[in-house]
């Protein structure tokens, strides 16, 4: 499947976010790069720059003049003519630049604003309780496979009006799109076929039988009196499935992983569940799951780096969140941190559309998990594995339940 790659010799000059060393533990590498780079480079993927300071990540995220979002997942080479052009891109609004970005985003924002998302709390909580009930009599569970991965799938399916039982299918789509960065372009296109076929069918079904859901909303929506183009609707639905699943699955998994390894933090949250909200923000900071990408619009020098048109920028929000120049005790997890301007949901105009949904899922997932299992630990260190690519989180997480309520 995967092409053989040489191991990274030096992350400063040969950076690769799919290298096993980075996948296993990226934080010491970020720290090293911060001290001696601080913008790493790589000739891989057709050329890539990797900022690791908060100020650089923030500057690039806010600079839509010099950096385009038309492709946000680093592929095997330069996107060249294959990527649809700005300002719309393949999956609006994440792939859109100003001025179209604001139009496409404004369309979606109300569906993800607190008023709409908070109404999903009982659905999310019931889903968590059902998953917990299914593992109630087991000594060892997999908190990623049996729990975390099902929660965002259930919520996004509910919002889009898709069958709950299609969850496995969605996760395979996410894998194809996000974790397939190593595949040559032709293989990626081929792998993408079932994803396309599924969504074409969904749109046809909704066209025939409109519902009170986000899919029907997209089909009915208008921009300046015109219905959205099919490619826009299709791209936005793919975006919602991809962006909504892997990411929150990772965030929930990383939170449980931290609590399993830090019993004093777990005990504090069990004792005082009102701390869960600030703990979630700290987990989002310390274990931010999402790294985005940008492309350099045209040749341009940034902080002394000679950036060329179509060079990739790997926009590491996780690295920004560990920058000691920006955060006190950046490498420590402090669950009641009072000042936490973390960038886990991005910075600037592309702030994660689903951030309120992600927080709701994390809040209900953690509240229910620790209420049911007030004491737990990692059952097998070697059994913990992390995803590869631009979304980081545990994909297997064996947990031994030590106490149940």
């Amino acid at each position: 499947m995967t092409m053989e790659k040489l191991p990274v010799a030096d992350f400063a000059t040969d950076f690769d976010h799919t290298d096993p060393q980075w996948v296993a533990d990226p934080y010491p590498i970020m720290e090293d790069l911060r001290e001696r780079c601080p913008i790493a480079h790589s000739n891989r993927y057709g050329g890539m720059w990797v900022p690791v300071l908060h100020e650089d990540v923030s500057a690039i995220a806010n600079d839509t003049e010099h950096f385009t979002s038309r492709t946000v997942v680093v592929g095997s080479g330069r996107p060249g003519e294959d990527a649809p052009p700005a300002p719309i891109g393949v999956a609006p609004p994440i792939s859109s630049d100003p001025p179209f970005h604001a139009i496409a985003r404004r369309l979606m924002l109300p569906a993800f604003a607190p008023k709409k998302i908070n109404a999903l709390e009982s659905f999310s909580r019931e889903l968590c309780r059902r998953l917990i009930a299914e593992m109630a009599d087991r000594e060892v569970i997999d908190a990623a496979v049996d729990y975390a991965q099902h929660i965002p799938v259930g919520l996004i399916a509910k919002m889009l009006g898709l069958p709950q039982e299609d969850g496995d299918l969605f996760r395979s789509f996410v894998h194809i799109i996000l974790e397939g960065v190593d595949l040559p372009q032709e293989q990626r296109i081929e792998a993408f076929q079932p994803v396309e076929a599924y969504f074409i069918r969904v749109l046809e079904e909704h066209q025939a039988n409109p519902n009170d859901d986000l899919t029907s909303f997209l089909l009915e929506a208008e921009i300046m009196g015109n219905k959205l183009e099919d490619a826009h609707i299709f791209g936005s639905m793919i975006l919602l499935v991809v962006a909504g699943i892997d990411t929150t699955w990772s965030a929930i998994g990383s939170s449980i992983w931290h609590l399993a390894k830090n019993p004093e933090d777990l005990a504090r949250l069990v004792e005082d569940p009102s701390l869960i909200a600030s703990a979630i923000e700290e987990f989002l900071r310390a274990y931010a799951p999402v790294t985005m990408a940008r492309l350099v619009k045209e040749d341009f020098e940034f902080k002394g780096c000679p950036m060329k048109q179509d060079d990739w920028i790997l926009l590491g929000f996780p690295a920004a969140n560990r920058d000691p120049k920006f955060f006190d005790r950046a490498d420590e997890v402090i669950i009641d941190r009072e000042q936490n301007r973390h960038a886990a949901f991005g910075l600037g105009i592309h702030r994660c559309l689903g951030s309120n949904l992600a927080r709701l899922e994390m809040q209900t997932a953690l509240e229910e998990f620790i209420a049911a299992f007030p004491k737990f630990e990692i059952a097998d260190d070697d059994g913990v594995t992390f995803s590869q690519g631009q979304v980081r989180g545990p994909r297997t997480l064996p947990i031994r339940i030590l106490e149940r309520s």
């Binding site: 924002l109 607190p114 008023k115 936490n340 910075l347 702030r351 951030s355």
Partner: protein, 64 residues
Amino acid sequence: MKIKLDLEKCQGHGRCYSLAPELFDSDDLGNAVVLVTGELDADQIVQATLAANNCPEYAIEVVA
């Protein structure tokens, strides 16, 4: 002291209305709305400062 919100900078992260719901609310898009536009009392200054210190976009200031 009063709350100064820069809506040009606000991107709807929602930290302010989560941390200080008596002072901030969300509009229909998820962006911040200031609920207390006048002088803040001592407790409100603490809450507003907390919101300001957690805004990833530096959109909130507590000013004289």
